[in-house]
Structures are given as C-alpha cells and as structure tokens.
Symmetry: C2
Subunit: 340 residues, 2 copies
C-alpha cells in the first residue's frame, strides 16, 4: 500500500497511525503487540474474541495521548505501556456492553460480537475485558493511577445508566448533554493524560493542566462524533447514520437545530411519533437527520467543538516546550477537523 | 426479635454474623458500613440499587476469611477492610450479571434486579459494581493484591464462558466439574485468604498455605451448594430447587448418581428430553432432582466435600497458633455441615 494517495487507500481495519503519531509510533506498535497477545487467555474461543475485538480497534487516540504525555514527563516504559493498554482495553470493554445493550449489529464496519455470540456470552466477554483492563491498570503499580482508573469506570457507567433512564421526549438541557459526553468519552481521555502525567511524576500543576487538556480534547472529540452521526456516510462511520437519534439520544446538532427552528414541524413530528411509538418514528427520524445534516447548525456545533479544542490547547501553556507538546497541540487541532 | 428461639425467628435479609464470627464481628460491622455507604454514588437510582444489592448480601464468608487471616498476620485495618470490600463487591457484581444471563427471578429470596430494572440497566449496574470493586481493590494500595484481584475476575469470567459454551448433553468429566467450581467459587475464597496474607506480609510459605486453605474451603463450599440444590427447600435456598439442572448444568450429585445407576431410566429420559427440547424436559428434571435428593449419593457427595475441608484444615498446619487460626478451622468444619 503506497502512502502517496492516502485518500484512495482501502480502509484498513487495523489501526494505521498516521504521521501525526510519528513521535509515538514505536510506543503504539508495542501497544498493539501487547493488546494482541492473548497467549494467556485460557479459553481458545475467548482468546479469539478478545483478539478480534482488539484488531477491530479504533485510532488509539487515548493511548497516543498517554504516550505523548510520557514524552514530556518520562515514566518507566512498562508502566506507560500498561496505562495505555488499560485505557484502550477499558474503552473496548465498554463498547462490547454498549453493543449488547443497543443490540447494535455493526461497529467500525464489523459485525458486533453480539450478532455472532449470544448476548449472554457477550456480557461475559465484556466482563473479561474489564478484568483484563484492571490487570493492565494494576501493572502501572501506581496506586493513584489505579484508583483514577477505577473511578473512571464508575463515571462511564453512571453516565450510561443516566442515559438509559433519562431519555425524555424532546431536548436535554445543555448540562445534561455535557455530562453525557464527559462520561461517554472525555473521562477516559482525561485519565489517559492525567494518569500518564502521574506516572511521569509531573508537578501537581502540570498534572491538573494535562487532565484539563485530555478532558477538553475528549469533549471536542465527542461533539465531532455527534456531528458525524449526521453528516458522514455509513461507509465512513462503519455503522448506520443517525444512530443516536434512532435510539432516542438527542445530541448537540439537534439541540442547536431546535434552538434555530423552535417551530420546526419536523421536530414536532419526531416528538409526537416518539410519544406514540410505532413505525412512524423511523420516517420522522430520517427526516430530522437529513434536515440537521444540511443545516447551518452543523457549523455552529463545530464552533463549539473548536472552543473546546481551544481550551485543550490553552491547557498546554507553560508545559515544557518539547516536540511532544506540539504533537498534543496538533492532535487537538486534528480532532476537530476529522471526517471519520 | 428474641434470640431464645432462633429457629422460629423470621429470616433476616441482612447478614447476622453468628458467634462463629465473634473474632471478626467488629471488622464485619465496619465492612457492612463501608459497603452500604453509597453517599458517593452520583446517581440516586443507582445508589439505591447498589445499596439494595449489598443489603440482600449473603453470609460474608469471604470477608470473614480475609479478616481472620489478618488476625494471624495483621495488616493496616483500612487495607484489610478494602480487600474484604473488594472481594465481596466483586462477588456481588458477578451475581448481578449471572442473574441477567440466567434470567433469574429470585436470588436469596429477593426479586433479582433484572426483574425490576431492564436487562440493559442491570448489565450497567453490574459494570458499576465491578468498578466499585476495582476501587476497593485499589485502596489496598498493594500492587500484588490488586493484580491477584484482577486475575481472579478473569478466572471467574472464563469459567462462566466455558459453562455457557460447553454444556454437553450428559455428564461433564470430573475435571470439568472441578474447574467450574474453582472459577465459580473457590478462586474468590482463595484470593480473600491469599490477598489478606499478602497485606499482612505473611512469609511466602504461609501465603501459599492460606491460598490453599481458601481454595479448598471454596471448593467444599460449592460442593455443598450443589448438594443443597437437591436437598434444601425453596424457602431455605431463596430460589427454586434444582436450578442448576434446569439450566442444563450437571453437578456432582448427578454425576455420582449416574455412576451409581449407569442404566437409570430417569437420566436417560432427561438426556433424551434435553436433546429434543420442549416441555417434557421440565418433568424429566423434576424426576431426577427428586431421585437424586433422596439417593445415597448425597452422602457420597458430602464425603467429597469433607475431603476438601480436610485439605483446607491441613493447610493451616504450622501457622501461628492464635484464636483466628482455630476460627478458620471452625469455619471449614461449619461450611460442610451447613443446611442453607
């Protein structure tokens, strides 16, 4: 595969770190090897599943953040690797349970585990991956990092539970939305950055700044994800477009659309159809997804993500001026411009 | 409630440590307070659920083992408490997912969470409790104990997965059965004893002995549970009798029955009905449960548990001769004589 025409290259299921990750390429390669090593999984079908889920993994952004932080504040390489593996495995484990709960059929373009295994086995496979994440976390041998990590699992799950039980017809408050994307995405970016800073014995102020960086980067990343759910193609997303709204989850683009068009007949039809249930809802969702995707509110939502990115970049101020700091800055800029 | 006629007292849902636990009564009280403190759970419905699941808890045998070990080899009380809480919370978390998977309606005489909450919310509640268990484990601040703990989650889940996928019609091998009860029960008893020994800086040999004690105690405990599934009443069990066989899980009493009665028409009918599926299976299960429950194989199975208890007691040889060691010995004897 040539790098000359990256846009025409086939979509690679395995993560292909771009040049953006040049500084941490070797670290990310070690991470892949670590995550894919399932020689210690005692049950072959489970080993196969863990390995598949890992291979189908995403861009490894959270580990990249952790590794870059450890280029500013070096930590013993084994511990840095353990933190990155813990963060990525926890992320993957929560996705496995997400897919059972949503009865999702596709994730990153691949059939989800619960379409192949039974839901029961998928629940257990997710549990196994929680255990594996916990073991990686334990291998950081840093009590504060391990605690951070356990707390983050609590935050993620609480967010998911709120979302299951608090899905009102109509619009969430801005605070509800921000809480949701914090739990869903930003908390784990924050722990990647903060945990790595702790492992690298960064000064207390720098630990707080890096946490702030990770948190805001994660918030921006999720806002962009929520935008792409309206503007991308199914091929780019690896799953159907408009998925959130279909599940009754209202994200920033719809909230901004409702502010811009308070009397929108499309939205009224959606809320009515949601209250009544039944098949009319699918058509109502499709209409809203199409309208929002072509609306100027998309650019507004992108502006909000840009503000979060600006906060992430500002949080880097005063940290040692090394190439890794510039790479973190670059990663923040990239996150808001990405199209998939 | 008078203590004069304990057998006529109403069944208390809260654990009432017997005199057997006199040595660790104060520790167990602190544990209850710690487990029931959900003031840090940020979402009230979840706090209520965690608190209910904890209150409906069992006999706290695993924590009692850990606390007794720490009376032989003292550890900082906060860390000992954290280990006990971690072990008990991990146990409770796995039960929550068990109940979703088995679609169980009753556990310890109470409606299971998944009959009240949706299965999705129950999966998340279990995940939350894994996170809480991990946080307690982190609070031991002992990397080896934390790693032990994470490994044990892996062992438990692997066992459950094997059981989901390897449920042949007919009899498991003896090794399959022993592997299953190790994952289901003995692994967590082992980590309670071994973890506490590590926290108390016991000599290496004593750590291994105490692990061996916990492991054999746990094995015996599960064999007795498997016997009670045939001999107890639904009122004592807090769930329907014969539940394992109903779910297609063949335990030691049935294995011994099949050895004693290789041509049993009842068993042949059960395997046939299992192969064919359908409603005939329920009657076939009932007939086998009744026959096994009245068979001499029950006493044979109890003998096997007694051998495990003997191994547990032998593992205590040479440890410091303090009252806690006698209490561990007593606990092993009790575990095999219990009727609920």
């Amino acid at each position: 595969m040539s790098n000359a025409h990256p846009s025409s290259a086939p979509v690679a299921p395995t993560p292909a770190p771009s040049d953006r990750f040049a500084l941490v390429r070797a670290d990310l390669d070690r991470l892949e090897a670590r995550l894919r090593d399932v020689s210690d999984v005692p049950y072959p079908p489970l080993a196969e599943v863990v390995s598949q889920l890992v291979r189908a993994g995403g861009k490894r952004l959270r580990p990249a953040v952790a590794f870059l932080v450890n280029q500013i504040y070096p930590a013993p390489p084994e511990r840095s690797l353990a933190l990155a593996a813990a963060v990525e495995m926890l992320h993957t484990a929560t996705l496995v349970h997400d897919d059972v709960i949503d009865e999702a059929a596709l994730r990153r373009g691949f059939p989800t585990l619960n379409t192949v295994w039974s839901p029961s086995a998928t629940i257990r496979a997710g549990d196994y991956m929680f255990g594996r994440a916990a073991r990686y976390a334990a291998a950081t041998e840093h009590p504060r990092v391990i605690r951070l990590f356990a707390d983050t699992l609590g935050v993620i799950v609480t967010g998911e539970l709120r979302q299951l039980y608090h899905r009102p017809v109509g619009l969430p408050s801005r605070q509800d939305y921000l809480d949701r994307i914090y739990g869903k995405t930003a908390a784990l970016f924050a722990v990647a950055a903060e945990g790595a800073a702790e492992l690298g014995r960064a000064p207390e102020g720098a630990v707080a700044q890096l946490r702030d960086y990770g948190l805001n980067l994660g918030m921006a990343f999720q806002v962009i994800d929520d935008i792409l759910d309206f503007t991308a193609t199914e091929a780019d997303l690896g799953k159907p477009v408009g998925g959130d709204l279909r599940e009754g989850i209202v994200t920033l683009p719809v909230m901004l659309y409702a502010e811009a068009e308070p009397d929108s007949p499309l939205l009224r039809r959606l809320w009515d159809a949601t209250r009544e249930g039944g098949s009319a809802r699918t058509a109502a969702v499709d209409a809203v997804v199409a309208a929002v995707g072509q609306s100027p509110v998309i650019e507004q939502a992108r502006d909000e993500a840009r503000q979060m990115v600006a906060r992430a970049r500002a949080a880097l101020a005063g940290l040692p001026d090394v190439p890794a700091r510039a790479a973190l800055d670059d990663l923040a800029v990239y996150s808001v411009g990405r199209r998939e």
